[in-house]
């Protein structure tokens, strides 16, 4: 059968389509393949996303930045996942602390904290390095008077490691600031997960999440407002997660 002749797209139409969506539309073609420039643009985005996934968090620098900006004590911890390949294949290990971390926390004499902030590299160290300290400053300024636990900075961690840490510290609420899985156009997106009475075994349905915190997404101020409001609701209803969303919807209706 003869191959179909596809029309060439005029530059004016290409520009119009591109203005309507962030998708990679109107790329043009050479033969049936993508032109060199578009191919390299894709490779650049993928390279940035890959580098973000594999970057090692500069923990010392981040810890001192958080100390400086928030004036809080910082604890440096590591999950039971020894390195990135292990982390990527064993989500279970990323949810628990290594031996040293567990020992360290049990020596702390915990208790009496309203909030345990936990900063975790997750899938993008870049995201926490760029946004965690600045977001924390905004957030803590909205909850003055709260008893805040030392800020934990965790390498090779997943969201649920906040449950282990929050429980060990005896905190009423844990907030985990974590690097989200990089998209091709968003290597540095930060997520924030709020869990009432954190303890091992909490499920994702028992957390509330704010996503896409980055320059092109949600600003620190808006994210901090939403988190502070979630904290208050969690305190009032004594829970987080799907149930909190339902409670909030009910009180809005009522």
């Amino acid at each position: 059968m003869s191959e179909i002749a596809y029309p060439e797209m005029l530059p004016a139409l290409a520009a119009k389509l591109r203005a309507l969506t962030p998708a990679r539309v109107a790329l043009g073609r050479t033969g049936v393949s993508q032109p060199t420039r578009e191919q390299l643009a894709f490779q650049r985005s993928h390279a940035q996303a890959r580098d973000a996934v594999h970057a090692r968090m500069q923990t010392a620098a981040l810890a001192s930045e958080i100390e400086e900006i928030t004036g809080r004590e910082v604890l440096r911890l590591h999950s039971a996942a020894t390195d990135r390949p292990c982390y990527l294949q064993r989500p279970d290990l990323g949810r628990t602390l290594d031996e040293a971390g567990r020992t360290r926390l049990t020596r702390l004499r915990p208790g009496g904290f309203d909030l345990a902030p936990v900063v975790v590299d997750g899938l993008s160290a870049l995201a926490v390095e760029r946004h965690a300290a600045l977001l924390l400053r905004e957030l803590l300024s909205r909850i003055e008077g709260w008893r805040i636990a030392p800020v934990c900075v965790v390498e090779q961690g997943r969201v649920a490691i906040g449950d282990v840490i929050g429980a060990a510290l005896g905190a009423e609420i844990a907030v985990v600031l974590i690097g989200e899985r990089p998209g091709l156009s968003s290597p540095d997106s930060l997520g924030a997960y709020v869990t009432w009475q954190p303890r091992p075994g909490r499920t994702d349905a028992e957390r509330n999440c704010i996503s896409n915190i980055r320059a092109e997404g949600l600003s620190y101020a808006v994210a901090a407002d939403r988190l502070a409001s979630l904290f208050l609701q969690a305190r009032r209803c004594r829970l987080t997660g799907v149930a909190l969303k339902l409670e909030t919807a009910k009180s809005l209706e009522g």
């Binding site: 962030p22 393949s33 990527l88 294949q89 990089p182």
Partner: protein
């Protein structure tokens, strides 16, 4: 018929203390299995839960004897390496143990699979579906085979397109998964390439010499104009003959309806032979349908266990309801050859989904994936595709694992009689890149895949993963000499497409439904 085996097993288990399983076998089992001369007492394997008697499987390599407690363990340990099985704790512990399991599996009679389900009949509706729907007559030509002999037969000249089509209802997902574990990449391609599964709605998908593409015009906020821009771009590059299928960012009846109307208006205006779908939850689509939305295909993600499907919010009865609702609309057209399109369901699957829902029952992820195909084939779907690399590296670690899994899924689906496509894809935390996708894409083309995805620039800006592009579909059609679906091909060569190309100069006029 098969249900009778399980009943029989339960009845006989009381007599099990006699010690010799064979002596208590009833006539049903004799008919199904022992009539096969290949199951004497002294075969190298020792098999299954025959007559309620659990026996272990084993194989020796050198001086080491490897034992496998049950069929579940045997299948898991015979599976080529992948991270999800390690995560689940079911993978072989060494390369030698894996090949020992493959030896033992190769000697296992197919009839044993009917007597020993990997998940009990009593607790799982997918097992019940597999057992109750099994076609003993279709199975008859291979009834005496071992798994290894099935592989040899599938690759032989005896296994023609017609015979393979007739065999499909006699093959269970576990048999398909088992034989695939003994097959290399080229075997998975060679066997699948013989099989054609053709389905119809407004286009005919799956014919030999054809390759279709799902146009996937997703947008981060479901903006109709943004989605329409991607649809236009895809149509102008010849994608959309499998379906124009939008993954919505939210799960909302109003948005679903709005997007369906947008595509339908475009389709009517330019007489496009294509079907649309908004991939919201099935209940959302049914609600939209009840409110009068123009629903063509009804979509749902499915998995291979009742518990995993429950985590998706679906059951066989809900899918049945959706299927009937879709059928009742009769929106399919008369397709090439004068046949009316009646396939209305669209299913997506993927290895690892049951484990991620903690609903895997200790079964390996590839066997569970094949079980999802039993769910799919119950509803005569228009489209089924594995979303092979979407789930992430904890299930399929790298390009090598993704490539093999994609070919396994395609082969197993086709063997079971499904119109298999594949979302050739990966996430940014997997050890994979676009080169790996080119490899899998090209191999699937050689294997005769029904369709692939067409995503603008292969970059899904809503789901945040990389798939294949409109260009990739054109590449595959060109290098393999394939055409789009015949109805769509005629449209691309006709006046309506020319008109679309002209009027596209003012997209804003096209994009408001």
């Amino acid at each position: 018929m098969i249900r009778a085996y399980y009943t029989l097993r339960r009845r006989l288990s009381a007599k099990r203390e006699t010690g010799n399983a064979q002596c208590v076998l009833g006539p049903l089992f004799v008919a199904a299995a022992l009539s096969c001369a290949r199951i004497p007492l002294e075969t190298p394997y020792s098999g299954g839960t025959v007559g309620g008697q659990r026996m272990s499987y084993s194989a020796s390599i050198g001086n080491h004897r490897y034992n496998f407690a049950d069929l579940r363990e045997l299948l898991a340990k015979a599976t080529p390496a992948r991270s999800g099985d390690v995560l689940a704790g079911v993978a072989a512990e060494s390369a030698e143990e894996r090949v020992a399991a493959q030896f033992a599996l190769a000697d296992l009679p197919l009839a044993n699979f009917l007597a020993a389900p990997v998940i009990p009949y009593e607790i799982d509706e997918v097992t019940r579906l597999i057992a109750d729907a099994h076609d003993a007559q279709a199975f008859a030509p291979v009834r005496s085979f071992t798994v290894g002999e099935l592989r040899d037969w599938l690759l032989s000249n005896e296994a023609t397109e017609e015979r393979l089509a007739a065999l499909a209802p006699g093959i269970t997902p576990e048999m398909a998964a088992a034989v695939s574990k003994l097959m290399r990449v080229q075997d998975l391609i060679a066997a699948a390439a013989k099989i054609r599964v053709v389905t119809r709605f407004r286009t005919t998908v799956g014919l030999r010499g054809r390759l279709s593409a799902r146009l996937q015009p997703n947008h981060p906020t479901d903006d109709p104009a943004g989605i329409a821009a991607s649809i236009l771009d895809g149509l102008l590059l010849g994608s959309g003959d499998a379906v124009i299928g939008i993954n919505p960012a939210g799960d909302d009846v109003a948005v679903t309806t709005q997007l369906l109307r947008l595509v339908d208006a475009l389709r009517e205006r330019f007489q496009i032979p294509a079907q649309s779908c908004v991939l919201a939850h099935v209940t959302t689509q049914i609600a939209a349908l009840e409110q009068g939305a123009p629903i063509d295909l009804i979509f749902q993600s499915i998995a291979g266990t009742e518990a995993a499907n429950r985590s998706f919010g679906v059951s066989l009865s809900l899918l049945e309801e959706a299927h009937e609702a879709g059928q009742s609309l009769s929106r399919g057209a008369i397709c090439a050859g004068g046949i009316v399109g009646r396939n209305v369901m669209y299913f997506e699957t993927g290895q690892g989904s049951a484990l991620s829902a903690n609903a895997h029952h200790g079964v390996d992820q590839q066997t569970l994936e094949a079980r999802a195909y039993a769910v799919a084939r119950r509803f005569e779907p228009m489209l089924v595709n594995t979303v092979v690399g979407f789930i992430g590296p904890e299930y399929l670690y790298d390009g090598k694992q993704i490539v093999r899994a994609g070919l396994e899924d395609h082969f197993c689906g086709k063997l079971l009689g499904l119109p298999m496509g594949c979302d050739v894809c990966y996430t940014n935390h997997a050890e994979a890149d676009q080169d790996d996708m080119d490899v899998l894409l090209t191999l699937l083309g050689a294997a005769g895949v029904n369709y692939i995805m067409g995503v603008p620039g292969a970059d899904d800006v809503m789901l945040n993963y990389q798939s294949t592009s409109f260009h990739d579909a054109l590449y595959l059609r060109r290098v393999l000499g394939l055409g789009p679906a015949p109805e769509f091909e005629a449209w691309l060569q006709g006046d309506s497409f020319g008109r679309l190309a002209l009027e596209a100069a003012n997209p804003e006029r096209l994009l408001t439904a």
